[in-house]
């Protein structure tokens, strides 16, 4: 088996192990709907984490995604409040997210600034703009949004998916294609492996770097739209700290934070693992919510140590 696939395999095995543990320990855990709910409840996280995967593959980081989600829900809610057509509102926020990301990417690329600081400022800006729109939660009463929120797509065995979950799956499939079968995707991997060598190879490094943040901003806005379906409200404090969950999902999914190595499919399993931890804790009923944080921390530690081990081996082999 290829060494590069090893972290992904461990992630998948871990997920299966946790599911088996839940199935043995708790009654009713092994029903299709429980697993589909993992995707339904974490659809927005999944969309955002896919965008984050590209940023991290290119060796960068995007701390602004949680705030961009909140801003998306706020803008959507206030546009709908003003009587906009729901689809026009969606188009506006998606364009806005892509533009916001592209602007951050431009600053990072053109002025050689640290992604950490630029996206940190972006996070302050987006969160601040939320407060400027309103400090209160804005409910959404639009019939189209309500219909989308309530729609269930049956997938057999008496279980169903929401539109949000379907969007998340579509994003994962599209991202896998972009990452592995396009020039953009290959350039992202090349930049993560070594920016100057990618430049020397004649790849369009500058354009791709801006593109990566544009994609992440777009995914954050799309995640925000999915969250708007899920919550049916706009609120400044939606998705606080979601950027950390997204980064954790990417790392647990086996992507190297140094860039250059990883798979979009791994991120999907990273998100599912974060979801199954919460489901296990909910099924147990006696464990408190803070165990989620501790378990996620331990998993992060294990995966990072594993990656170090794996890196060391490849270097020795080379």
């Amino acid at each position: 088996m290829s060494r590069r696939l090893l972290p992904l395999c461990i992630t998948v095995l871990l997920f299966i192990g946790m599911a088996a543990f839940g199935a043995i320990r708790y009654d009713g855990f092994l029903s299709p709907q429980v697993f589909l709910n993992l995707l339904i409840d974490n659809a927005f996280l999944c969309v955002v984490a896919v965008g984050m995967t590209f940023v991290i593959l290119s060796g960068g980081i995007d701390l602004s995604v949680g705030a961009v989600i909140a801003l998306t829900t706020m803008i959507s809610a206030s546009l709908l409040d003003a009587g906009w057509n729901p689809f026009a509102a969606m188009a506006v926020v998606l364009l806005f997210g892509a533009g916001f990301g592209a602007l951050q990417g431009f600053l990072i690329q053109r002025f050689d600034l640290a992604p950490f600081i630029v996206t940190l400022a972006g996070m302050f800006l987006a969160r601040g703009c939320c407060y400027l729109i309103s400090t209160e939660s804005i409910p959404i009463n639009d019939p189209t949004y309500a219909a989308i929120a309530q729609a269930r797509i049956p997938v057999g065995f008496g279980s169903s998916l929401t539109i949000g979950a379907v969007i998340a799956l579509a994003v994962v499939l599209a991202a896998m294609r972009i990452a592995h079968a396009t020039e953009f995707g290959r350039t992202v991997y090349a930049i993560g492996g070594g920016e100057s060598s990618a430049r020397l190879m004649g790849l369009s490094v500058s354009r791709t770097k801006v593109g990566v943040y544009l994609l992440s901003g777009f995914c954050a806005a799309l995640g925000g739209v999915v969250m708007t379906f899920y919550m049916l409200s706009g609120y400044s404090l939606h998705a606080v700290g979601l950027e950390l969950d997204a980064i954790a999902a990417v790392v647990i999914g086996g992507t190297l934070l140094a860039g250059g190595v990883g798979y979009v499919a791994g991120t999907l399993f990273g998100v599912l693992i974060l979801g199954i931890i919460q489901t296990l804790i909910a099924f147990d009923g006696t464990l408190s919510s803070w165990w989620t944080k501790i378990v996620v921390g331990v998993l992060l530690l294990l995966f990072c140590l594993l990656q170090r081990l794996f890196e060391g081996r490849t270097r020795k082999a080379a």
């Binding site: 940190l120 407060y131 400090t135 934070l257 408190s288 803070w290 921390g297 170090r308």
Partner: protein, 340 residues
Amino acid sequence: MKLSQHALFWPATTLLLLLAVCALFNPSFLSIAWRDGHLYGNLIDILNRAAPLMVVSLGMTLVIAVRGLDISVGAVVAIAATVAALMIGGKFSAGGDVASDHPLWQALLAALLVAAACGLWNGLLVVKAGMQPIVATLILMVAGRGIAQLLTDGQIITVYYAPFFALGNGFLLGVPVALWIAAALWGLLHLLLSRTALGLFIRAIGGNPEAARVAGIRAASITLCVYTFCSLAAGIAGLIISSNVKSADANNAGQLLELDAILAVTLGGTALTGGRFTLAGTVIGALIIQTLTSMIYSLGVPPEVNLVVKAAMVFAVMLLQSAEFRGLVLRAVRGGAKHA
């Protein structure tokens, strides 16, 4: 050397400008009075409130100077505050006095030791396991708050033992105790870094870790100490913060403090790429952040604007620090002059 080339010129100018704006809108802003046996006034208030941020940022400066980053300081603040609050506890006795469960010094020492242990953990992950600093400290950032909540069972622990309140609310010789602590830490670090070779070593490690190691500097041990110190400083800040609010909130204490600390360090003129650092700049950076907050409240601007202004400041400062951007502006100015 021209004044404008001094490392502290831009941070100090920013701070003075902010204060001038405050004074312009509120002439009594800069006045300091002596009331109830201590100094009183907006400036004292800013210094007092900025103290925990200054303490954390001083630790962060050193971490950034050795090419690191510590995003776990907020979680460490929560852990230290929780340990101290749990150990002090405090029960009302019949006489109306409050007794502490453990002597105060034991509680404070235990909190600081736990904080230092957190830093040692971070340092080991960076130095021994070779993880990227942001990932290594992300682990504690995520798990740390969970651990603090586990200790408190998710409750906010209220402290009733009055002597503990001196840290965050007390005055010594008319000056807030928190400010004394921050100043003492700054003075100590300044002496340590300017009078011993340690400052030079840290600059060398930040400039080029490999070259520093080859030159015989014990880069690994120094980096380990720097991470331990950063968490220790976060622990001190945690004690000040929990003493100030007379409670420990595992979920919210020190929330986003890591970002403010990194911002203070950047605003002060320390390079995020490592090697160049200024402690005085960091102190000014922390004061800029607090002045901005106080200014927004005192001018009657809705506090919602605070974050947007902060974002604008970060954008401005990072662009000014970028050589590319300065070059672009310089060319534009020269080009403009030529055409004129």
